[in-house]
């Protein structure tokens, strides 16, 4: 049974009995289903599934952590696919008590983890080998490009990755986060690697760690008043990143979702960081 209590599932579930009508609860899962060409089977998605844009035309079952039992039932699914963050647990148990299959896809925050996700979803959903292999090959190519880009880094580039900047308090990725995973993929050094999880950062810490480049999610940048406002933030201003204007907004789901786009996004941020070094 899927638990919303911070436990991860290490193993990919068995192939589904009936994968003809799928509800996808997770942005990266939806992305992969489209990438595999299996989107015709989707009957509904959650609110974090915003890519590709046609996914937004599907009925929405709510936020991934606050799913609605009856809402999902009304789409008559045969299979519910999601990751660890599906919830609440009571809804999941109600659904499985009605005999609806639930599959939780394991997530690991590195390139290979994304490939594993693709394999896992392909097997559960029953996608043909050719579609799967085509996608994996594409991903491997991107990972090779990424690896080349990574190797070009000769000295550590100090980077911070921000999830939010609210009332002057930034929330940054520490270790054990998807943000940290992306930075590692990009070969960049996370100045907050000694923190664990997403943490609000005190001004002194930000100034002391002094990142050279800062990445922030597009949504947070918009909420803070645009990228110029972020750069002008008194604490950000005092960092190397702020003073040299090396603060970039990146699509949050693409960056942190650990779907196919995360690889190309990692490549993108790696390139950006190196260019401005």
């Amino acid at each position: 049974m899927a638990a919303g209590l911070g436990q991860t599932h290490a193993v990919c579930p068995e192939p589904a009995m009936d994968a003809s009508r799928i509800v996808s609860a997770g942005g990266s899962v939806t992305e992969i289903i489209y990438a595999l060409g299996a989107e015709s089977r989707l009957v509904a998605v959650d609110t974090t599934s915003n890519f590709p844009s046609s996914a937004a035309d599907l009925p929405s079952v709510g936020y991934v952590r606050a799913l609605s039992t009856e809402g999902m039932l009304s789409t008559r699914p045969t299979l519910i696919l999601g990751e660890d963050d599906m919830g609440p647990p009571e809804v999941l148990s109600q659904l499985s008590s009605l005999g609806i299959e639930l599959a939780v896809i394991p997530e690991r925050w590195h390139g290979q983890g994304i490939v594993e996700k693709v394999r896992c979803i392909s097997s559960i959903v029953g996608v043909g080998q050719s579609a799967r292999d085509a996608l994996i090959e594409k991903l491997q190519n991107h990972m090779d490009d990424l690896s080349i880009q990574r190797s070009r880094i000769d000295k550590p580039i100090r980077v911070a990755l921000l999830l939010a900047l609210r009332d002057g308090v930034p929330t940054a990725a520490g270790s054990e986060t998807s943000g940290h995973g992306v930075l590692e993929m990009a070969g960049l050094t996370n100045v907050f690697a000694d923190f664990e999880g997403w943490k609000p950062i005190a001004p002194e810490a930000m100034i002391k760690r002094n990142p050279e480049v800062i990445f922030i999610t597009e949504r947070s940048a918009k909420a803070a008043g645009g990228i110029e406002a972020v750069i002008a933030d008194p604490i950000i201003e005092l960092t190397d990143a702020g003073s040299s204007g090396n603060v970039f907004a990146v699509d949050g789901m693409a960056l942190l979702g650990f779907g196919p786009r995360t690889i190309t996004t990692a490549l993108q941020i790696s390139t950006l960081a190196q260019a401005n070094d």
């Binding site: 209590l5 436990q7 929405s60 039992t69 009856e70 809402g71 609440p88 054990e176 997403w198």
Partner: protein, 359 residues
């Protein structure tokens, strides 16, 4: 002065001028009003049962034509949800009515005495640190609810400990302790938010928002027992609450054991509200607004007020949950947003209408 005629019984029992104060419906008999409120309750219950994203086909069930899936959804998912909505709504509204009477303050609310926060803190503890606690496997799905009840009980225990220490539980003391507990709970919740990982943080945020979707029959049983116990204990105090309105010493001179009454009400509220929060998260405004709505219809004596609040609270929450479920299918709106959307403007209207009378 008088014209010398004895006052007739009719004069004593009927209204001369219904417009004289804010009880527009005083001239309508209690019987009719009770029927009206029960009819509203039944209407809300029926619509809650039949409406929803998933068509449970209530009518088809009557004709024996429903699919087994429909029956299962109705009985195992829709019905417990409606029952939970009714119980939680009644619990919160009744506690609100009792606390407004106890504090002799129209703005009193179960959140005020810190019980909701205590329950929330317990639940959040379990959400964040629950992995470290060894729960027997059968209890694991209810771990959050159990922790919430512990939290509510701990707050109540604290209130009593402070009361015993001073000998008397003065209303100002309870209010201050409630404020302190709310503040402490805020610190505790903030702390847990800080140490939680991203996943727990999001779970926590959504749990706090309040939802009736977590109901199933097994988890409902302990909560129901607690809430019903709370009801009985509270409704029993209606006459004493009336007498308390003239003042605490005045009530005591009329034979009310005020110290005991305070404990009874605070304890019974903690039971009811703690159980409600543990099952449904924080749902606001019901305890505050429903008693005022009921006073508008039934007047201020606590017997009608308390029974009325229970029924109207149940109806309101069932209605709010129905709206939450059918407004943006197949997604759901958090029910607390609906109760606030209904409750806040209504409350503002009450304030404006009565502004001459409020202190």
């Amino acid at each position: 002065m008088t014209d010398g005629k004895p006052v007739s019984r009719e004069a004593l029992l009927t209204t001369a001028n219904p417009k004289l104060f804010n009880r527009r419906f005083q001239h309508i008999s209690l019987g009719w009003k009770a029927y009206f409120v029960l009819a509203v309750f039944l209407l809300c219950a029926l619509s809650a049962m039949t409406l929803g994203a998933f068509d449970v086909g209530v009518l088809s069930i009557f004709f024996g034509e429903a699919s087994s899936v429909q029956e299962k959804v109705l009985v195992n998912i829709r019905l417990p949800r409606v029952v939970l909505a009714a119980l939680v709504g009644a619990s919160l509204a009744l506690s609100g009515a009792a606390l407004q009477g106890l504090f002799r303050n129209p703005l009193a609310d179960p959140g005020l005495i810190g019980v909701s926060s205590g329950a929330a803190l317990g639940a959040i503890f379990m959400i964040v640190l629950g992995g470290a606690v060894n729960m027997p496997a059968t209890l694991a799905p209810y771990s959050i609810s159990i922790a919430a009840i512990f939290g509510a009980t701990a707050v109540t225990g604290l209130l009593f400990a402070i009361a015993q220490g001073g000998g008397r539980l003065s209303i100002v003391t309870v209010l201050l302790v409630g404020i302190a507990i709310n503040a402490l709970a805020g610190v505790g919740i903030g702390f847990f938010q800080y140490i939680s990982d991203d996943s727990q943080l999001r779970t926590l945020t959504f749990w706090m928002m309040g939802s009736l979707g977590r109901a199933d029959w097994t988890s409902l049983v302990p909560g129901t027992v607690l809430m019903l116990t709370g009801f009985c204990l509270l409704i029993q105090t209606h006459r004493q609450l009336d007498l308390l309105q003239l003042g605490e010493p005045e009530a005591e001179f009329m034979g009310v054991d005020v110290a005991y009454l305070k404990k009874q009400i605070v304890f019974a509220s903690a039971l009811g509200v703690g159980a409600a929060v543990s099952l449904a998260g924080m749902i606001g405004f019901i305890g505050l607004v429903v008693p005022h709505l009921v006073r508008f219809l039934f007047g201020v004596t606590h017997r009608a007020l308390m029974y009325g609040s229970a029924v109207v609270g149940a109806s309101l929450l069932m209605l709010a949950d129905t709206i939450a479920r059918i407004a943006i299918p197949p997604a759901e709106i958090p029910v607390s947003l609906i109760t606030s959307a209904i409750g806040a403007p209504f409350f503002l209207w009450l304030i404006v209408r009565d502004r001459g009378l409020w202190r």
